[in-house]
């Protein structure tokens, strides 16, 4: 496999993530879309680390590791906020929790 194949896959993942975030009407699905976006970035870093940087430079892989940790932290906070939303509104659809307007 060449670098191109990895980049094509990561762009597809990224686009799917953005599509999911923009079209889904459920907070959990939005979170899944965000995870797709973050994973496409991690794939990019790992691929660039393999093909672009010198073999003894593993900074790309380390950035990917940090990316995974941050995705987990973000998911934790996101789920906690979804729980708070569910307690107040009894729904997790972004359309029905849209009360602040103007």
């Amino acid at each position: 496999m060449s670098l191109q194949s990895y980049l094509v896959i990561s762009i597809i993942l990224f686009s799917l993530g953005i599509f999911c975030v923009l079209t889904r009407r459920n907070a959990i699905s939005i979170l899944m879309g965000i995870e797709l976006i973050l994973n496409s970035c991690n794939l990019n870093f790992a691929a660039f680390s393999r093909y672009v940087t010198p073999p003894d430079d593993i900074s790309g892989q380390i950035i990917a590791l940090f990316g995974i940790v941050l995705a987990a932290a973000e998911a934790a906070v996101f789920l906690a906020i979804i729980l708070a939303i569910y307690r107040e509104f009894s729904t997790i659809s972004p359309d029905e929790t849209d009360t602040l307007k103007g």
Binding site: S10, F14, G17, I18, V21, A27, I30, L31, I34, I37, L38, S40, C41, N44, F45, A47, F48, V52, T53, D57, S59, G60, I62, I63, F66, G67, L70, A73, E74, V77, F78, A80, I81, I82, A84, I85, R87, E88, F89, P94, T97, D98, T99, L100, K101, G102
Partner: protein
């Protein structure tokens, strides 16, 4: 500098971490007694952090193998951010919105955000930039949703994290492309690599433009610039008022620190080929126009100030598109002035929300007869936000417009001037309600002496800096350091 050798220069950040932990432990021990011990511990931590930062000094040093840079630019923003956090702690003590039971975590989180902002102001590596941005974002989401029994606050946190997660994910994608093109994460190296690649012609300008645009999504979201501003009115309206004040000042300042360091140290060499500064000039014009026009019909003062802070972000961005040290100096000066006038305005909103129980303009009717000092202070802050002489806001705008006109970006200066006129209309609506309209409630309001002293701390600089801004000028010149290269 290696990791171990860097630690002595990292003491301010370590102090913040230690105090955040101490506050949590203190909170565990004092659940039943209540009181404001956690808040004062937070203040002590901030003061010690600032003192140690000043003792360490701002000699140019690269720490932790090029991850973080200690320089006068970082120092400037650390002090601005610390002042804003200290003010937020004092506001929180006086705000009746927060539940005393959970205040310990609240102050520990505030110190954690401050730590993230310190790092945002000093990161020089793409990984560190992303990590510090996420530290600030994740803790801000929690703080925005801190009122657990308020639907508004939960909704604010939900909107904040949805927009925030998408834009920071987009930014990480941009960072990964940039990393792939240059093979490094160090922004100084990226700058020289990009310059080299453009001069040899072995790079697609479109790819660089794409990655810079993606990175702008994350940065633009932090400074609430169009088109990444949609979260800010809802979040500002729903969050606890002290947090709204904090987000509108400290978060914006830290966002500008990150933006300026990234774009001036990292992407400056790419400007000749892809002209990102022109793109940002358009963003700046749109940001101030959209912010101002949307503020016109607002009835909720918090929401009105949210839109006004978007438009101030647009004004600040004007200085960032010029690529001159005058423009950067104008940003730094404007940020100091904005710190005092905006925090002051939000403090009045807190006092009124406590006493009158209203956040709408109707709650401000006849305020001059009920609480003259508060009404006059609010008028000073609002006129200063408009930019009327002889108040501080005028000095800030004057220096900013002078820098823009010097670079002959006349269209941007004209849009900025027109926007200042529009802004006058909605700020004056509040002043009119306070001074010219009468309310059914005529009972006079009383405020604690502590609150009035705190209010004066913001009024005095707003008045003084408008007629005597030389020290600001010297300070901002000294703070630029080597950012302009």
């Amino acid at each position: 500098m290696t990791n171990i050798a860097s630690i002595p220069y990292f003491i301010p950040e370590i102090v913040l971490v230690v105090f955040a932990v101490v506050i949590i432990l203190y909170d565990l021990g004092s659940k039943k007694t209540g009181g404001n011990g956690a808040a004062y511990l937070g203040l002590i931590g901030l003061v010690i952090a600032v003192i140690t930062a000043l003792v360490i000094g701002s000699e140019d040093r690269s720490l932790f193998l090029g991850m973080v840079r200690l320089d006068s630019f970082a120092m400037f923003f650390k002090i601005i951010i610390s002042v804003a956090t200290a003010a937020t702690i004092l506001f929180s003590v006086r705000s009746s919105e927060l539940d005393p039971e959970t205040k310990g975590e609240y102050y520990a989180l505030l110190l954690a955000v401050t730590l993230g902002m310190y790092l945002m102001a000093s990161s020089t590596h793409l990984l560190m930039i992303y990590l510090s941005l996420e530290t600030v974002s994740l803790t801000s989401y929690i703080l925005a949703g801190f009122l657990t029994h308020s639907p508004r606050s939960s909704e604010a946190a939900f909107k904040y994290i949805t927009f925030g997660a998408i834009s920071s994910g987009t930014m990480l994608f941009g960072i990964s492309l940039l990393f792939g093109m240059t093979g490094t994460g160090d922004i100084m190296l990226i700058s020289s690599k990009l310059g080299e690649m453009f001069s040899q012609g072995n790079v697609y300008p479109l790819a660089v433009l794409l990655s810079i645009t993606f990175i702008l999504a994350g940065v633009g979201y932090k400074i609430a610039s169009v088109p990444f501003h949609m979260w800010s009115p809802d979040v500002y309206e729903g969050a606890p008022i002290p947090i709204t004040a904090f987000l509108s000042v400290a978060s914006k300042a830290a966002g500008f620190a990150l933006f300026l360091r990234l774009f001036y140290s990292g992407f400056k060499s790419a400007d000749a080929s892809i002209d990102w500064s022109m793109m940002l000039a358009v963003v700046s014009a749109l940001t101030m126009t959209v912010g101002n026009l949307a503020a016109l019909p607002q009835q909720n003062v918090k929401r009105l100030l949210a839109y006004s802070s978007i438009s101030h972000g647009g004004f600040l961005l004007m200085g960032g598109v010029l690529l001159t040290s005058e423009g950067l100096q104008a940003i730094l000066i404007y940020l100091i002035i904005y710190l005092f006038m905006n925090l002051g305005a939000f403090f009045v909103v807190i006092l009124i929300a406590n006493e009158v129980g209203s956040e709408t303009i109707d709650g401000y009717r006849g305020l001059v007869s009920r609480a003259p000092l508060i009404a006059v202070s609010m008028a000073i802050f609002l006129f200063s936000l408009t930019g009327l002489p002889p108040l501080a806001g005028f000095a800030g705008k004057w220096i900013l417009f002078a820098a823009v006109i010097k670079e002959q970006l006349y269209w941007l200066a004209v849009i900025g001037l027109l926007n200042s006129v529009v802004a006058l209309y909605y700020y004056v609506r509040i002043v009119k309600a306070m001074f010219l309209e009468s309310s059914d409630d005529t009972e006079s309001l009383s405020f604690s002496p502590g609150s009035l002293v705190l209010l004066l701390i913001f009024v005095v600089p707003t008045l003084l800096l408008g007629i005597y801004w030389n020290p600001l000028y010297e300070l901002s010149r000294a703070s630029l350091g080597k950012l302009m290269g």
